[in-house]
């Protein structure tokens, strides 16, 4: 019997790590990986509350999050390839063409 708050705190920790990674890293693939960490933390929260309320709906939503993660990874990595082809670098600070 594990308290639900432990799972929720772990989920908050993982989400925080994802947010920090998103803001501190410079490589665009590392940013995508940070987004995956955040999505996974949210999935954990969904499953915990599904367990708490004895409802299967929370687990269904994890499926949809999984699908969105897959679509995001596919499109994001295609964008990464296009970006690398154009500027030979994955540093997000280098793509500042629209900045003045």
């Amino acid at each position: 019997m594990i308290p639900a708050s432990w799972f929720l705190i772990l989920s908050a920790v993982l989400f925080l790590i994802g947010v920090l990674g998103f803001f501190l890293k410079r490589n665009i693939i590392a940013l995508l990986l940070s987004v995956e960490i955040m999505l996974n933390a949210v999935n954990l929260t969904f499953v915990v509350f599904s367990n708490q309320h004895r409802q299967i709906s929370g687990q269904i939503f994890v499926f949809f999050v999984l699908v969105v993660a897959a679509a995001e990874a596919a499109v994001g990595l295609a964008l990464v390839i296009a970006m690398f082809r154009n500027r030979e670098s994955l540093n997000v600070d280098r793509s500042n063409l629209l900045k003045w």
Partner: protein, 163 residues
Amino acid sequence: MIQILFFFFAALAAGAAINVLVQKHVLYSALSLILMLTATSVLFILLGADFLAVIQIIVYAGAIMVLFVFVIMLLNLPVDEDGADRLRWLKFIGIPLGLFFLFLVTATLWNVQAGTGTQSRFVGSPQAIGQSLFTDYLLPFEVTSLLILIALVGAVVFAKKDL
């Protein structure tokens, strides 16, 4: 016993997630993320979501992360160039602020949810999930297929050499 399992895999997940940020080369970050996803799937089993744990390993660690590793190896990346940081100071403000946020969330969760426990025998079997997915959530399920089709076409268009 089950608490020991929880602590071990929770520490593994958090450590692997931190390792994702610490690593210089992004390939090691991706491999560390696979470790984190696997540890999380064990936590799903502790919560009685057996089917989701398997799906997590097959789809996330199996398919999505292979896509990441494939692209990383395809691009033949230079090792992280971290020079000329205009955001260097962000580290010294962001991490304390993040920890403060974490403290607030933890304190709140600790007070509100302290009494309730999870049960490991709430089974999200494939039958129960399938039944719910194909009755109550049929329309979102179908819309999902449309989303995947759009993502597929978009990925092909973006990755093509000349548009």
